[in-house]
Symmetry: C2
Subunit: 539 residues, 2 copies
Amino acid sequence: MMDYPLLMRTLLLRAARYFPKKEILSIFPDEIFRYTYGDYFKRTCQLANALKSLGIKKGDRVASIALNNHRHLELYFGVPCMGAVLHTANFRLPPQHLVYILNHAEDKVLFIDEDLLIIADMIKDQLKTVKHFVVLSQSGKLPNTTLSPVYLYDDWISQFSDEYDFPEDLDEKDPAMMCYTSATTGDPKGVVYTHRSIVLHSYAGAVTFGTFESDCALHIVPMFHANAWGMPFISVGMGIKQILPGRETLNMEKICRVIADEKVTVTCGVPTIWMMLYDYLEKGGWHDFSTLRVIASGGSACPLSLMRGLNEKYNFPIRQAYGGTETSPLATAALEKSYMTNLSPDQLYSVRNSAGLPALGVDMKVMNTVTGREVKNDGTEMGEIYLKGPWIADAYYKDPERSRQSFVDGWFHTGDMGTLDEEGYLRIVDRTKDLVKSGGEWISSVDLENMIMAHPKVLEAAIIGVPDPKWQEVPFGCIVVQQGETLTAAELQEFLKDKVKASYWIPKQYAFISALPKTSVMKFDKKGLRQMYANGQLK
Amino acid sequence: MMDYPLLMRTLLLRAARYFPKKEILSIFPDEIFRYTYGDYFKRTCQLANALKSLGIKKGDRVASIALNNHRHLELYFGVPCMGAVLHTANFRLPPQHLVYILNHAEDKVLFIDEDLLIIADMIKDQLKTVKHFVVLSQSGKLPNTTLSPVYLYDDWISQFSDEYDFPEDLDEKDPAMMCYTSATTGDPKGVVYTHRSIVLHSYAGAVTFGTFESDCALHIVPMFHANAWGMPFISVGMGIKQILPGRETLNMEKICRVIADEKVTVTCGVPTIWMMLYDYLEKGGWHDFSTLRVIASGGSACPLSLMRGLNEKYNFPIRQAYGGTETSPLATAALEKSYMTNLSPDQLYSVRNSAGLPALGVDMKVMNTVTGREVKNDGTEMGEIYLKGPWIADAYYKDPERSRQSFVDGWFHTGDMGTLDEEGYLRIVDRTKDLVKSGGEWISSVDLENMIMAHPKVLEAAIIGVPDPKWQEVPFGCIVVQQGETLTAAELQEFLKDKVKASYWIPKQYAFISALPKTSVMKFDKKGLRQMYANGQLK
């Protein structure tokens, strides 16, 4: 067989050759921008020529601080296909972390959205390697900025040829993209994706969710968050119509309008987004989801009550998937098996609300680190989830110390605890560090949150373990009540009584707060909550 | 990213771990055998242990002369996953070719179906490397045979452990499977598939046809014919229910019964099979195709009239694909684009009857070898089809001379002539050697056969070029008339008058014969027809 490398080039050229008429849309606050893959390819070629003119060469890192829009999508292919590496920087990180990752990656060029320019202005003096700034602008005007030298993206690339001979002689293991994941302690950790890992992850994603050329993909996941979960890559490779909602991502009215108008079939996102959507729908928000086929929820556990509410009341076909920045991210997906058609709704939702089965190509084991053996498929024995596969990272970028902790004997140790049921479905019990150990017994904060969020008056709930003189640690509930409702600790305790596995699961202490802090990728920020508790801010 | 090899092991273990309850069926003349992937995996382990006991080691070749059944499917994974190479021998080859390929591949063990034992008995004295014979038997009895040493498959493997630690440390470019393709002249040519090529082809096949765990696959293509077009691999990897029809493959009544009873959703085959099916249906044969989702037709051109008849009259959703033994085989597939919904039926069938677009991962160009440039996307300029990709062969096994002719500068020169239309769809004009050159103008035998087979009285038609003193070469029609019908040359010429591109396309000479000779993979045997013509047998 030919020694033919798996390169992102193959995805790009397929779109350009066979699907030049298919559309890509950017949603801006007061316009919808549309163009075709034909146009897209030409601008991607111009971008590659422009980068070459700056002296950017194979392996050089180039950063983006950008929203989800078509220019960012041009970077997604233009940068890696010409041989460089696109570092999609998470602009929601604290400034000192943003400075750290741009310096750590040694980015030479920084592409930045006009809406986010203030961030670059703020940190520019601390950037050690960035030599050029390029502003991604829809307004077409260069805003006031102290950045220098600075180019206006559209004007800049338009000076270059719209033909580019994307090299075929890259190694499939050459780096293509990178992003950083925030760590519990210390600086963010970098993960580098290769051409090979991206192509294989694209195949696996398409096979898992059955994506097809006729699909229409809406990218709600930020493009800095594990490559928008890889959806842009497979979309380009299959000529799938793409919609990039930019600043409108959290505008549920607009999102619902776009889903209906553009006949969106697939999307994905974190549960926080689905909570916002559910809230919008429960208030009577307009929607038409008749074209939606599959919605992947990931990043953190999707509360069962939310999943059922969206599925049953609004025909919003949400499915859970599991993975992280280190896993490209698709590791497992919760799709029921074809012979499960006679399950009761409760059993069916138990499957759908699991983390699922490994995607084709991923090897998984769940290790009871006490016994040193894999857990039994009994749905109760708990162990740490280990993953292996061609799109799973084997190190953090230039970080041997923390790499050694997470990548051991060829396995990625996820730091997540899980169980396996007899059908092989994985269920995430908790992040290792979020488990509450009370009187020597484990309490899953995820399970407990799930139960509490099923209460009709609860909007959001997070459980943290707090010190206790008698039980070492006890669960503490941080509760956001639905607007206009009131709720007491006693009511919640009564509600939980016949739901928990044992009475010591029921939190005795609660803080009723107006909103939960979120991480930069919209997960509940438990580190933040623990800090607030330590500071006496949660009462 | 991890340096994790793409191995068939990954497909096998996924089925064993997550789909042990799913079924595999073998259809025998008087019974349907059923077992599960759980059983399948255990026997595959036993087989691997049994092979090891014979001293079979990494890289050794092991041959099968077998029909489509579950034992053959055990060989499909047991042999390559333990490190050896399964050579699926085409038992329809003439004996001297069969001897050649078994000796050329240096097969050490020969697995042979009890139904085909006579073949092994016939050739055994000429086999230079085979040391062991294993009989795949459903009857459970060792038939009379002169083979020695000979084992009864089920008894033999049952002596071994049903656990096997399939090695993870193979190289993904290690050979896994091989088969030979008959050449126009000379000995058959061997193609070796690697673990990598098989895994990637599996992904691409699933992505192209949207196969899913809920599918049910019926393997009509012989398992010696380019690995049954790869369907068994992706079926195992996704836990898809599989049906292996063995000797009943050509029994259309049985096939239709199985499709309905087992709720078959996907299958594939050569046009000759679909002609037999159409004939059965036209005679009022019972059928229920309501579960069928996608049927791939390949190997040779599917007449448009046949495709439309099956689709429109019987709701048999046939789609054309293109490839060969050298291409694993999927190279292109003719699926319409989502925006083609407003095409007229004629336009739509023109797309579906094309060879289609390259599968995700295949690179294609159509070279006008006269101008030395790629053809224009105008649907008329003709060129030779070149292919490149990770599941395209780069050589024939131990055959440098013929490898040099077909594999040039990194491209596989298919020997097929084609055109590209403005949407990028490939249409096969002809095999280079089947094109008729009449008075300096090319005539496509494929197009002409298509036109003739649309005549209601014609069952099969093949066109060959025959010498002519005035025009150098003229088309000659070999016609099989539908049972009970009569047809004259004059009628055909009248029928073709307003269909052909120019009057010189209309054949002046015809032979009306009772059946067309077929190749070992059921294509019309034009080499045979040319020989018959030369011998004066066609009049």
